[in-house]
Amino acid sequence: MTADDNPLIDMIENILLTPSSDFYIATILHDPNGGALDPRTIDSVDLGTISLEGVQIGIVIRNLVVRGLSNVQVAFDSEGNPEISVDGDSVTFHAVLPNQQAGYTRPPDVPAVAAAHGDLDVTIAGQPMPPGTILLTISAVQDLKGVFTATEGAGGLSTVEITFTALSVGLDLAAGVMKITVDLATVFKETINHILNQPDMQASFLEKVNAQISSPDVLASLSQVATKARAALGTN
């Protein structure tokens, strides 16, 4: 079924693009209470171990608070069409950061550049090191992809259920959009930064973050926030 076959989907597609709508993409991804994507607290990101001259170095990030990922707008293809596709009652959108769409006003708690900070636990050969902190900035998101379904209940638009089934962040790491900065009690801090900012390490980090934000709990929470925004459907 296409959007033309389902007016609800067509409606949702439109309001994702409308800054004034409660179902605007940047709006449904933002919840000051932490229910959506921005802000999002990730309890733990285990980056696994890296081997440095045979020494196993384990890196785990805890209480990673990610902010700013709602500062996105739907991407447009080369022909000027929004990158939103519909398959039955499933909607897939592709968004980019930062949001430069006219009419969008970034909330005060949403930083212009996506950023995350957390606690950093490092072990060397299994021995825990003094804790540190990690700060991560993302200057641009090339593809924030979301997939959700919208199903209308017997009660009409007021019973529409939004269910997110996938969410991921795609970055052009080669373009240097991500920067990781750690603060640790060692003279080798810059070396650790250098290691963590290697493309492989950044890709691994992004993969772990994507695994977290696409977890069932996060998708369910985001679905709840988006469903609450269904009132926007009535005003469209």
Partner: protein, 369 residues
């Protein structure tokens, strides 16, 4: 049993040697490697000469070697970062077969104010231990330098700033306290060891029977010892003299031999000295000899001949010839540390007597190439 040969060496000397050779071996006491996947170069190295401390820990066989270690990481295109750690190597000295003193690393401890560096070094401890062990195990001291002597056992004692390695003719071997060194090393040679050398290299080989001018003289026995840095021997001889059917017993008083011990080059040698002229008397052992003896003059002539030709000539020549020998040679030690040739050349050798022992002292130059 007390040791018969003790080689004492000072930590100060070891440290001076370490200082001398460090410029040559420093590149060997470091490692550098790149990690292409991380675009990173990691290097570590000892930054100052290792320092020996002969504290006497671990029952007198342990000593410590301390050295500063620097670890540097350099990201491609970035600035190097360097952390430092003090390294204390606990080392053991043992005497292995054939009297070779060898050192080995037992444990390493790192002390760094950087907890990350500390942890990395702890994780790399085995590798670094092997590296330091290559350094200390290349130092070998040979006790088997006393010519013709095979020691029954060895002992080693480290403490109070100096080490002592000893060999003994009988087990067990105990090392008495030795005076503080004012030179790089000292070798103590006991009277027992010299007596053993005299027994095996002189007495066992010297002819016991001498015949000349009609006299047969037997070397019956001896005593030997050290006194004031000289080797003395008391030789006991007797003999017979026969001429034209007349037989005499020859009574010979103790022959006192005093020989000098001196340094020649790197050798400790026995040289020169005096052989006393003993009292000699003839006692007729048959009636014809009695007849000649009563005559008187012939006896005096025989005694003179025995003294001049046998005791003063043949025997004296044999004794001197047999004892004119090298007691020990202080060797030039050489070895390779990670491909760097290190040579230890003794100098300033002097010998003196201390009671009933000989003391050979000296310094050494250490070079590396």
């Amino acid at each position: 049993m007390s040791a018969d040969f003790i080689l004492s060496f000072s930590a100060a000397f070891m440290n001076r040697a370490s200082q001398s050779i460090f410029p040559a071996i420093q590149p060997k006491m470091s490692r550098s490697g790149t990690i292409p996947s991380m675009h990173l170069t990691v290097a570590w190295g000892v930054t100052a000469p290792p320092q020996f401390q002969f504290t006497g820990a671990g029952g007198g066989q342990m000593f410590t070697l301390t050295m500063p270690l620097a670890v540097t990481t350099t990201p491609d295109g970035g600035q190097p970062q360097q952390g430092t750690s003090d390294v204390v190597a606990s080392c053991r000295a043992i005497v292995v077969a054939a009297g070779r003193v060898q050192f080995s690393v037992v444990d390493l401890t790192f002390t760094s104010t950087d907890p990350f560096l500390q942890a990395v070094l702890n994780a790399k401890k085995a590798d670094i231990t092997a590296q330091v062990n290559d350094f200390v195990s290349a130092i070998a001291i040979d006790l088997a330098i006393v010519e013709g002597v095979n020691f029954a056992g060895y002992a080693l004692q480290i403490g109070q700033g100096q080490g002592a390695a000893a060999g003994g003719l009988q087990m067990p071997v105990a090392i008495p306290s030795t005076p503080a060194l004012s030179t790089d090393f000292a070798a103590y040679i006991s009277q027992s060891l010299v007596q053993y050398i005299v027994q095996t290299t002189f007495w066992a080989q010297v002819p016991k029977n001498y015949s000349a001018s009609g006299a047969d003289v037997h070397l019956n026995g001896y005593e030997a010892g050290l006194s004031n840095g000289q080797l003395w021997l008391n030789l006991h001889l007797s003999g017979t003299y026969s001429s034209a059917g007349a037989d005499w017993d020859i009574n010979i008083g103790t022959v006192n031999v005093v020989l000098n011990v001196a340094v020649e080059g790197r050798n400790l040698v026995i040289r020169g000295g005096n052989v006393s002229r003993p009292d000699v008397s003839l006692h007729p052992s048959n009636w014809l000899a009695w007849v000649y003896t009563i005559g008187g003059g012939i006896v005096t002539a025989i005694i003179t001949a025995i003294l001049n030709n046998v005791i003063g000539g043949t025997i004296q020549d044999n004794i001197r010839g047999s004892l004119n020998r090298t007691l020990l040679e202080v060797p030039v030690l050489s070895g390779a540390i990670e491909g760097v040739n290190v040579t230890l050349t003794p100098r300033d050798l002097t010998v003196s007597g201390q009671g009933s022992q000989l003391v050979l002292t000296g310094n050494a130059d250490v070079t590396a190439s």
